[in-house]
């Protein structure tokens, strides 16, 4: 599956060294990376990724009141819990046959927009960018830093930094100007979130059937005034990221190979259009296409489908390397979808989770996570889709589909145009994100600040529409419902780091089955029964090493950049094993700079 070409025609005898990092820092959750690196040919030849946490949501939710699902599933994730609540409420609304009032959709959309802005900002500027900051580049690529000091920043008129190195310095942890400002921006955006959803990160005002947030003028003015305070920061962030990433391609020819894989992107869509959505399964294709981020599956740069019904029916949860019993011999919960299409036994609706804790064996079972795949009917492949960390797939699918056309956002078929209003320093600005040549580490990271801008632009539209409804007296935010004796539902949404779906089966007014599928199992899944590796494997295996350090003081920054570009969020657990065992000539674990402070 990997597209990595052999970069050198004259390969040297391999010098393989074992390198591991466990736990990985500056991500959410628990992840370890185990690699074998060929220092003679400067590439990663093998990699295992492991995360070890099982909590059992699908197990302990059985038999509970389905209305509790949104409150419970928020606790799956401590940085994007609200995405789970929102997705759960989408699934419940389908099961209960209830459509929230339009105002409730706007409030939910505004909350989610604030979440995207907060989460991408803190992750990009305070976690990811430490790998690109001056201190890190000095320790890993001093030659590149020297060049950065001599390179003028092309977009300095926007962000105010003279050289590329000046930008890198501004991202030094706890001391850099932008690092500190990003923490503050992450707080202002969380205040915006709290205005809509009550608190962060586990929201208190989201219910199936609507919200509890009172739409008053100050609800929206308080949000708008904060949004305008961060709008220039967002414009500058895009410019700084573009400058640094363009510089990396230029300073390190071949850097596009880092973290590159075949374009296999999935996006499940974000922000319902309140005028179109009715949460009926039968019309899911129509209201899915009306979302303000278009769902879609992109294979080799082409759109395979953006029909949520196809997307739903193609879901397959595989085993092969995980600590669970298989459920193929259980009774299915759902044999046909509401349209009469057959539902596979490996679909989340029919999944049963039976944990079997056991020893970690990299050549056997080594994972608390399963392997989600998407079955491509035309080719018969079970595709290991990735999310590109979230923004890359969202922008790519939206750009290709060409459906989104709002006052501030326009999808053109090959790009997405984002217009942001005047701020206190910078004029009205139109940013354009173009579909890139590669699905790689840098493009995953580059897409992130663009999506912050996208979320800000959408927030402006939701604010205007919500204020319009408010002034017209349309302030109802909740629609009552009865929990049916038997029902099924599914919700599709974009968590911050990518695809999120919840699948619910109700029997006797209780949860009979509930399976959430967050982005990280997609991105970091282990090999399935067909031996298909997960996305991390493609991305890391065969990637070149550009770090200037040798085995003795190796930091692995190129590998870490790739891993972090996917925005790993591991409370759902990940493991992976790649490649076939190699003979080791040296064994070494990096313990650089291990001072106790």
């Amino acid at each position: 599956m990997t597209t990595t070409d052999s970069r050198t025609t004259d390969r040297k005898p391999a010098q393989i060294v074992d390198m591991s990092w466990d736990p990985i820092t500056r991500i959410i959750g628990n992840l370890g990376i185990y690699t074998k690196i060929d220092f003679a040919n400067r590439e990663v030849v093998e990699c295992h990724s492991t995360s070890s946490l099982f909590r059992g949501y699908s197990v302990f939710m059985k038999g509970k009141d389905p209305r509790d699902a949104g409150f419970i599933t928020s606790r799956i994730c401590g940085i994007c819990g609200d995405n789970h609540t929102t997705c759960s409420n989408y699934a419940q609304q389908m099961a209960y046959g209830v459509k929230p009032p339009r105002m409730a959709e706007h409030i939910t959309n505004l909350g989610e927009a604030a979440e995207y802005m907060f989460d991408h900002t803190i992750f990009q500027d305070n976690l990811v960018f430490v790998d690109f900051c001056e201190a890190m580049v000095k320790a890993t690529n001093p030659g590149v830093l020297a060049r950065a000091e001599q390179t003028a920043a092309p977009r300095g008129d926007v962000h105010g930094y003279r050289t590329i190195a000046d930008i890198m310095k501004a991202f030094n942890p706890f001391e850099g100007e932008v690092y500190k400002e990003a923490l503050k921006v992450s707080r202002v955006t969380r205040e915006m979130f709290c205005l809509m959803e009550g608190r962060h990160v586990h929201p208190s005002t989201l219910y199936p059937g609507g919200v509890g947030t009172m739409p008053q003028p100050n609800t929206f003015t308080d949000y708008l005034s904060r949004l305008m305070r961060v709008i220039d920061f967002i414009k500058k962030a895009v410019a700084m990221n573009d400058d640094v990433f363009d510089f990396f391609y230029e300073a390190l020819p071949g850097y596009e190979e880092v973290g590159k894989r075949r374009v296999l992107l999935g996006c499940w869509g974000a922000w319902q259009n309140p005028d179109v959505v009715d949460y009926r399964y039968q019309s899911m294709n129509e209201w899915g296409k009306a979302m303000y981020v278009t769902p879609g599956i992109v294979v080799d740069g082409k759109l395979v489908t953006n029909n949520l019904i196809d997307i739903n029916l193609g879901l397959r949860i595989m085993l092969g390397s995980s600590f669970y019993e298989d459920w193929v011999n259980e009774q299915p919960f759902v044999t046909h979808d509401p349209l009469g299409n057959p539902v596979d036994m490996r679909h989340p609706w029919n999944q049963t989770t039976v944990p079997v804790p056991q020893k970690r064996e990299f050549d056997g079972n080594y994972s608390w996570v399963m392997s989600p795949r998407w079955f491509h009917q035309q080719t018969g492949e079970h595709l290991a889709l990735d999310t590109g960390g979230g923004p890359l797939a969202r922008l790519w699918s939206t750009a290709l589909s060409g459906l989104v056309d709002t006052p501030y956002i326009k999808a053109t078929g090959s790009s997405v145009r984002i217009s942001l209003p005047k701020g206190d320093q910078l004029p009205e600005t139109t940013l354009e994100w173009h579909i890139p040549k590669w699905s790689n580490t840098i493009e995953r990271d580059r897409a992130r600040p663009y999506f912050v801008a996208y979320a800000a632009a959408m927030a402006l539209q939701f604010l205007e529409e919500a204020m319009g409804l408010l002034r017209a007296g349309e302030t109802k935010v909740f629609e009552n419902f009865e929990v049916p004796d038997e029902a099924i539902g599914c919700g599709f949404h974009e968590a911050v780091r990518g695809v999120l779906s919840h699948h619910l089966v109700i029997r006797d007014k209780k949860i009979a089955n509930y399976h959430p599928y967050p982005p990280t199992p997609w991105n970091a899944s282990p090999r399935d029964i067909y031996g298909t590796p997960g996305p991390y494997e493609d991305a890391v295996q065969g990637q070149p090493i550009f770090e200037e350090n040798g085995p003795d003081d190796f930091k692995g920054v190129d590998i870490m950049r790739t891993v972090r570009s996917f925005d790993p969020c591991l409370p759902c657990g990940v493991h992976m094993y790649m490649g076939k065992g190699k003979t080791l000539s040296t064994v070494h674990s990096p313990t650089y700079g291990a001072n106790h402070g």
Binding site: R26, T50, G78, I79, T205, M214, P357
Partner: protein, 362 residues
Amino acid sequence: MTTQSGTTEVRGEPGRAEERNGIDEIHILWISEGMSCDGDTVSLTAAGQPSIEDVVLGLIPGLPKVNLVNKVLSPSLGGEDFLAPYRAAARGELGPFILVIEGSIPNQNIIEGDGYWTSFGNDPETGQPQTLNWWIDQLAPKAWAVVAAGTCATYGGIHAMAGNPTGCMGLADYLGWDFKSTAGLPVVNVPGCPIQPENFMETLVWVLQHAAGAAPPPPLDHMLRPQWLFGKTVHEGCDRAAYYEQADFAEDYTSPKCLVKTGCWGPVVNCNVPKRGWMAGIGGCPNVGGICIGCTMPGFPDAFMPFMDEPPGGTLSSMVIKPYGAVVRRLRGITNVMVNHEPKWRHNKRELTSGYDPRWRA
């Protein structure tokens, strides 16, 4: 901390009148590898009063120098470099440290044979994942103070609900409720799902001031919570409590009124969030329209489920207050009409009718 300024050495901290006999430098070893969502670490970054960077950069007077070791915020690349202080602490070779645990503590004893529920790094001997439980067993007895961040770590939380497969619990359940740190402190519990950012920072700063010798230990209640934060109920600080007094209840969520009939447990939950807001005074569940689901409580979540139904006690108390509330609301309505009138002497006619008398004596 000193900074070079020209040729003069400047002390990084203002001089104090009295000499302290406290700790000058302390580590915070934070482990979020309990069964957690990392939501408490993320919540910590929301605090502005004080912010975590203020504490780490020494901007709060009177604290020891703080070395924070936290996976999410650590500038290190990870692995053994990141684990070094934890390993040193386990060997007893690190200076005084505060151990912060985030996440529920699983029961390893129910696993037959090999396997683990959650781990943190590896056992160097076997290469197998090192269980969280091993780390707690090693570090808690050596810690200057032990802090449980969030409801999972304090009382078990969501992952410990009925029907859970992992047998998980809170830190004090694991260590024993009579556990004492080397400084003689019990486990300091800061519940909340997640922690209210400023509640946590305030508690941490108090513990640090205690370490510096500048404050007594923080006052905790019988569930080891800071008294000043959890001594009152949600209802006692709620923006909507006055509606309750007037027996004016929301029937569904499209309402600015008291939510007790739609599932709010505020009257019996120990938490200051409506009073304090969520961050910088913004938000705070019932204020904004969110029912209180009791997320700070030892009984969370099972005692409060199903969340969206009226609490059993609410039926009786709302019935009892109905006659009083109905009368009071009516009387207030009458008075309100009265005080909505200006007095009659405010006019633009040719005579003054305010009762003004220049020679008036009492």
